[in-house]
Symmetry: D2
Subunit: 343 residues, 4 copies
């Protein structure tokens, strides 16, 4: 059961709902989104009915939810949500491009990549300072030094910054620098990390686990929402299949399915899905055409020198093809390209 608050509800209104539920022996999880606050209730539903919560001040609606994810479900929130990242919107009716280097390697590479991103139509800059790697001997990212470089690139280009956090312990540090916290595919069910980003007060990009079902993905988003944060963007980045010609298999169906089940925006990452530069633009086109709210792509000024995933980074004519796609395709599916801040 979910209590949806009025847009004008005060903090006292919200607290009154939570207190009433707790006094009746239930649990209440308050989640704040840009547009509204909702309160998820856990406990005896029949009993909650008798509390007549709908009559409390500031309450817009009380909805029974039939799916196991309450707060991110579309059942209580028919309209799809728009999330703002440093002022840049991601959501229905528009199409937002996120681009940047897979890993921040140094200031120069990052600035060049940020300029390329902006020129290609991006309104958000991605870049990894903490890299989760299968091998403990692989390059693990520059850490805080990388965050500083990203912050400087933001100043130079005006593009808000999306960056991954891999350890619950690092969330406060990363949140100081980033406009959006990314949770990677291997951490989709790292529940401690989900709770930490849920409490960090920043929008979160939640990548789908390599073999997660869409329901498991939404349950992971629910962990974030339950800690009070509804500013979540879901990111499809390919699932593991038996096909060896691509690193993973981009599941474009997941976009409309997740958009039907949840009010959260859904984006795709064709770079990590395929692992191959020549597939990124075709898959980006497919992602736009299937209705994704945003796209995230790897770019690099010198892919041949990249320390991580250079084989999938766009440069040159591929990047120009991407720029063309993001400027022409969205309007055919009823969307407008999001402009960078200040433009």
């Amino acid at each position: 059961m979910v209590v949806v608050m009025d847009a004008e509800a005060t903090d006292e209104d919200v607290a009154r709902v939570a207190d009433t539920v707790r006094a009746a022996g239930g649990e209440a999880f308050v989640s704040r989104g840009v547009a509204r606050t909702i309160v998820g209730l856990v406990g005896d539903v029949e009993h909650f009915d008798r509390l007549d919560l709908r009559t409390l001040p500031g309450v817009a609606d009380v909805v029974r939810i039939s799916v196991p994810y309450k707060l991110v479900s579309r059942e209580h929130h028919k309209e799809r949500s728009t999330i703002h990242v440093g002022g840049v919107p991601i959501g229905p009716g528009r199409f937002t491009l996120v681009a940047g280097p897979c890993a921040v390697e140094d200031a120069r590479q990052t600035f060049e990549a940020a300029d390329m991103a902006k020129a290609a139509g991006a309104s958000l800059l991605r870049g990894g300072a903490f890299k989760p790697r299968t091998s403990p001997y692989a390059f693990q990212g520059l850490g805080e030094k990388g965050l500083e470089i990203l912050a400087t690139a933001r100043e130079a280009t005006g593009l808000p910054v999306v960056t991954e956090v891999v350890d619950a312990h690092d969330v406060p540090l990363v949140a100081q620098y980033a406009d959006m916290l990314q949770v990677g595919t291997r951490n989709m069910q790292n529940f401690a990390l989900l709770q930490a980003v849920g409490a960090a007060g920043k929008p979160v990009m939640l990548k789908r686990g390599l073999n997660a079902t869409i329901e498991e993905w939404l349950m992971a988003a629910e962990y974030i929402a339950q800690r009070g944060n509804l500013d979540i963007v879901l990111c499809e980045r390919g699932v593991r299949t038996f096909e060896k010609a691509t690193r993973n298999t981009l599941d474009v169906s997941a976009v409309p399915v997740a958009q039907n089940l949840s009010h959260l925006p859904v984006m795709v990452d064709p770079s990590h899905a395929s692992g191959l530069r020549e597939l990124v633009v075709p898959l980006a086109r497919a992602g736009i055409a299937v209705g994704a709210d945003a796209l995230m792509v790897d770019i690099h000024p010198h892919p041949e020198d990249a320390r991580v995933d250079g084989s999938q980074a766009l440069v040159g004519s591929d990047l120009r093809d991407l720029a063309t796609a993001v400027r022409t395709l969205p309007q055919l599916v009823g969307r407008e390209l999001t402009a960078p801040p200040g433009s």
Copy 2:
């Protein structure tokens, strides 16, 4: 090793090449496509080199092939092929829509579906007379009666007919009626059936197996080609993954990957991939955007009464959305919608 014949090579020229190879202890497989004939050689490559086949009359080129599928490989045939089905082309530079009922149930349903298909932009009519079913107790199709209905629908609409064959024994019968023989996902490695359709003198649509890799799919196409038939269209129709929200997962990456590896056209079937009407149009858009040469969709005048897969058949506004997509999207990826014959 593959011998590529001139467009003007005579039957004698081809026979001379094959005889020379066999006289030298090798095997030669002659495959005829619309544009050219090629001869695949099996045996001692060093030995073939010494035969100096390039000097024989009618020989355009002799190519060493590094992949296990020789005849369908793009190594000896850089240009992508265009296949003609009853005069309707499928291949690069154009986009072809195939539509019709999953199963032929009766004449009226088939004629209505054929009219709907044509109105939506289709230039080929699909319809199943022999249905492979997981359960022996499920409707198995009308058989020859269904083929007769399809032939009448072709006369009425002018649309050439694509229909499935499930048993090598039925190939001659189905080939009498059909313009293109479809091999289904469960039969992708039914080698006896592949050889039979390879020898039938009709274009073949080869669906990817539910869990086949792209290499296995191309090896299956090679079985057809080896029997003398290069008029093959590959059809991606979804692979099995752990996601339960859709019947299968449409692997859009398979389209550019297969097009890079093979000269054969590649199409997608979003209806069988998803099994859900509301996903067919978004996936169809993704298929066009990723660069598919053709699309096949299920339609039905009364999906609620369909005997097979009614839940995925398009009708009404979904079909109108599809019609809009096939008329607007192809040109953004450098393609033109194929017109039906006689238009």
Copy 3:
């Protein structure tokens, strides 16, 4: 709904049941097993109830079946079945070893392998004369010549012969020579082949499809049973997973699950599952321990020269380890090793 006949029911009794059902507008599928005959009914169950079939002569029981596979289900047949292959039993209370070369290459290799099989404790000889191969250029087996060699090896050793059939057209030929027809993993849903072996009057070994669920496997067995043949042994041979260290992943859980759902015997093939000699004996032990009714293993006198799958064929000390396992482990799970005929 299923009608179970008495052990003493006559052909007239069976025909009377089928005729009664058909006269009432239903369909009746008669299946004969070693121990009893059953009749599967398709149509309006309420209507069948009114026919009072239980009162007809020769009828032992009438059972409603809740699963989609009727004839192979354990619902009407609580006791697990024992199937006889050339007099050799496979079923509960005993453990049967099937061994032999993956492919029959010549008489000498086959005879040596047959002697090795018998010495290791096998009571049935396997050997492939028709080989389904991913590549059309790979060795496809000796065909009828291979069947003749197997028949001679049977004469020499007394071991009945199990061999694969890959094409419905070849079923009568293979049935002339073989004691048991094997349907391979790629053909599990080749419905024409299933129907042909169902009508051939020989026991059938049905391998599980590479990615088939257990329910799909039992539905495939139902296709065979529906054509009148209940003498079916299910063979688990590994499913496709993401693990690359083994060819496939032997699903030992499938053994007790299939034994609970169906009355048919269930065996395992550790050779094709793993593709690696050093894993065959450990997996064979696991198969016996989990309760398989039989085991099939590849052996070869000279694996290094094998034309197919030499890397998985047992020889030397591995074969001796297998012989020890089949002589000691079965009794710990309440089974006795089946002796070869005439011993």
Copy 4:
């Protein structure tokens, strides 16, 4: 490259090796196991060769490693390792049973389960105090209260305790109570957690990820080893497949494969793999037969009341069957059942 120290090497010897490597510009990771200490080197191998490390005091061997996991590889350590947990050995030549409740619910349930475990032949007690759950609304375990109950059960039965840790932040707390730290399947690539347990000074049980390859599993173990801890037991607990009749598919082949690649002990968890009580004993038998070094099973005095996974907990006759299996099967594969401490 790996430097293997003498059993008698001093801390100074180890430090000298590490210092020498670091002085030469390389990285050195020191890992201590029960029997020996090894030092993993990262950097320019040619350069390390010139350091002549083999001549330093306390160095037993210097080995080049060809696989990406150095410290856990069997290349430098031919003999398989035995790990001790509170004095109880897990390793070659013996077979160790770990049993207990999936989740600690209260003292009484835990004590009863611990008594049942000991009676069945267990020498280690398992029990979950921190539970990773797909849903944030599901029971998450008793936390420290659960750890206290486990410690009391250890006192009562003498069985050392294995328990899961789900958050790097909790590692010091859990390490205070537990004899072995368990890392769950969803956390196999939670690199922060792996590093934390690697530094905690306690043996670690590392479960295989739901869809991890064996190589990825060993790389995860390498993260632990790299922090100085070689006391790791690998636990196979089922992989995700398309089969729906079982929760996951126990990959018994993973046992011999991982034992061949790594010197670490390998165990299996048939309870979580299948999720079904009636499959636990057959799969336990398969696990012993395939050569697992240990087995972990869920038991519960009243499964019908269990708060987590009651459907897979053993009780009554199933538990007696397990006790019989662990007392009879190990010797057939050259192993002896490990006795509980003090017996």
